[in-house]
C-alpha cells in the first residue's frame, strides 16, 4: 500500500496542481501598469515637473487621509488598437486605484494629440461623482482650460471639484463654499477663490507630506503649520507607503466603466 501511494503521489500532486491552475486566471495587466507609477503620470509632457510634484504631493496626502486614490495620466495618443473607454478602464483596473473595500479610485486620462479626456470613476464613488458631474467637469472645467493651453490649472480645478464631491469636509469651511461654487457655476469669481484656495492648499500639502511622520498608532496633535485638513478618519492603521515621493501603489479598487468622456 505504502509503495503504491509513493508511486501515485506524484500523479496525484499533478492532478491537484492542474485543478488549481485551471481556476486561477493568468493576468496580463503589466502592459497597463507601466503607465501608472505615481499619482501624476505626465507622459505627454503637458505640465511642468514642479507642478507634477505639487499635485502628486496633494493627491498622496489626500490618499493618506481619506484612502481615496485619484490618479492622473496623460499620454500623447492611445496605444494602437485601443478605444478610449476600454483603455481607461484597463488602466484603472491595472493600477487598482482605491481600496478593495471601498473601490474609491478615480482616473483622469488625458490624450494630448487626440484632444480627448476620460474620467474613470471607481465603483464606490459613482454615487458621489455621477456620470453627469464627471461630464460637467470635462465640459466646463477641463475643456475651457485646455483650449487656452492652461493644462495645469484645468487639471487642478478638476481634481478640486472631484475632491469636494467625494469628501466635502476635506476643505475647511469658508473656502469650501468657493470650491462648491464650481458645482453650480464656473464663474470668474469662483475661479479666483478656487485658485487662491488652491495655493494655500498645495503649500499645506507639500508642508504636511514633508513633515508628517506619524508615530505608531496615531497622529501627533496638530500644533504648527497651516494645517487645513480635517482630522483623519480611517487612517489610524494605514501605512504611509505613499507619502513623500508620490509613488503610487493601488489598494485593489474595482471599476466597471463609470464616468464620462469628452474632448477639447
Amino acid at each position: 500500500m505504502r509503495s503504491f501511494l509513493k508511486r501515485w503521489s506524484g500523479f496525484l500532486f499533478i492532478v491537484l496542481l492542474l485543478c488549481l491552475v485551471a481556476i486561477v486566471p493568468a493576468g496580463a495587466q503589466e502592459n497597463y501598469r507601466k503607465f501608472v507609477t505615481g499619482y501624476v503620470n505626465d507622459h505627454a509632457g503637458l505640465i511642468r515637473p514642479e507642478e507634477v510634484r505639487e499635485l502628486s504631493a496633494f493627491l498622496a496626502a489626500f490618499d493618506e487621509q481619506t484612502t481615496n486614490q485619484f490618479i492622473v495620466v496623460t499620454l500623447p495618443t492611445l496605444p494602437p488598437g485601443e478605444s478610449l473607454e476600454l483603455f481607461a478602464l484597463k488602466l484603472a483596473e491595472a493600477a487598482q486605484a482605491g481600496t478593495a473595500e471601498h473601490d474609491n479610485g478615480l482616473l483622469l486620462l488625458i490624450l494630448s494629440e487626440e484632444r480627448k479626456i476620460r474620467v474613470e470613476v471607481g465603483l464606490g464613488l459613482e454615487e458621489k461623482i455621477t456620470d453627469g458631474r464627471a461630464g460637467r467637469v470635462i465640459r466646463e472645467v477641463l475643456a475651457p482650460a485646455f483650449q487656452k493651453e492652461a493644462y495645469y490649472s484645468g487639471i487642478k480645478d478638476a481634481v478640486l471639484a472631484f475632491v469636494n464631491w467625494v469628501e466635502p469636509s476635506y476643505f475647511p469651511e469658508g473656502s469650501a463654499g468657493a470650491a462648491r461654487r464650481l458645482e453650480e457655476q464656473n464663474g470668474a469669481g469662483a475661479v479666483f477663490f478656487v485658485v487662491l484656495f488652491f495655493i494655500l492648499l498645495f503649500i499645506s500639502a507639500a508642508y504636511s507630506s514633508r513633515h508628517q511622520q506619524p508615530p505608531e498608532g496615531g497622529y501627533p496633535p496638530r500644533t504648527t503649520g497651516p494645517v487645513i485638513y480635517p482630522p483623519p478618519r480611517r487612517s489610524s492603521n494605514r501605512s504611509f507607503k505613499n507619502s513623500g515621493g508620490g509613488k503610487f501603489r493601488g489598494g485593489g479598487g474595482g471599476f466597471r466603466g463609470g464616468g464620462a468622456s469628452g474632448g477639447w
Partner: protein, 184 residues
C-alpha cells in the same frame, strides 16, 4: 488489501478530478450569474433614465411624436423582456430608437446647449459604457464556462451534471449601425 489498493487509488484520483471540475463549474456558473445581474442593473438604469431624457427633449421638440412613441414602446418591451435572448432583442430595439432620438436632437442647437440635457446624455453614455463593460465581462465568463464544459474530461462530468452551453450577449449587427432618420 494489496489486490484492491490499485483500484482504490484510481477511485480516489477520479473523485479528486470530479470534485475539481464540479467545483469549478459551480463557481463559473456563479460568476456568469453575477455578471448577468450587472447587465440587468444597467438595462434597468437605462430604462429609468429614458423618461427624464424624453421629458427634457420634449421641452424643445414638439413635432417628432413618432420617435417618442417608439422609445416608449421599446422601453416597456425591455422592461417586460425575459431571458438572455429576449433582453438582447429588446435592448437592441431600444438602442435604435434612442439613436433616432439623438439624431432628432441634432436639429435643435438650443437643446444641445441645455445643461440638464448634456448631463442626462452623460448619464446615458455612462450607462451604455457600463453596459458594454458588463457585456464584455459576462461574455468572458460564458466563454470560460463553455470551453470548460466542452473539453475532455470536463464534458463527461458536465454531461453527468446536465450542464449546457450558455448564451452570449451578442449585439445584432443592425443595432450597431447609425439609424437613418428622414425629416419630412
Amino acid at each position: 488489501m494489496r489486490k484492491y489498493s490499485g483500484l482504490l487509488i484510481v477511485l480516489l484520483v477520479a473523485i479528486v478530478i470530479f470534485a475539481g471540475y464540479y467545483n469549478s463549474f459551480i463557481s463559473l456558473e456563479e460568476k456568469i450569474e453575477g455578471r448577468w445581474a450587472e447587465i440587468e442593473n444597467n438595462l434597468q438604469r437605462r430604462a429609468d433614465l429614458i423618461p427624464n431624457l424624453v421629458a427634457t427633449v420634449q421641452g424643445y421638440v414638439t413635432h417628432e411624436a413618432a420617435v417618442f412613441t417608439e422609445i416608449a414602446q421599446a422601453r416597456s418591451r425591455l422592461l417586460g423582456a425575459e431571458g438572455v435572448a429576449g433582453k438582447v432583442e429588446a435592448s437592441s430595439a431600444l438602442d435604435s430608437a434612442l439613436g433616432r432620438l439623438l439624431m432628432v436632437v441634432e436639429q435643435y442647437p438650443e437643446l444641445k446647449a441645455d445643461r440638464r440635457f448634456a448631463e442626462l446624455q452623460d448619464e446615458l453614455a455612462g450607462t451604455e459604457n457600463r453596459l458594454s463593460v458588463a457585456r464584455l465581462r459576462y461574455n468572458e465568463a460564458v466563454t470560460a464556462f463553455n470551453a470548460r464544459i466542452r473539453r475532455f474530461p470536463g464534458n463527461l462530468i458536465a454531461g453527468l451534471m446536465g450542464l449546457e452551453r450558455k448564451d452570449y450577449f451578442q449585439i445584432k449587427e443592425e443595432a450597431r449601425e447609425v439609424p437613418k432618420v428622414e425629416f419630412k
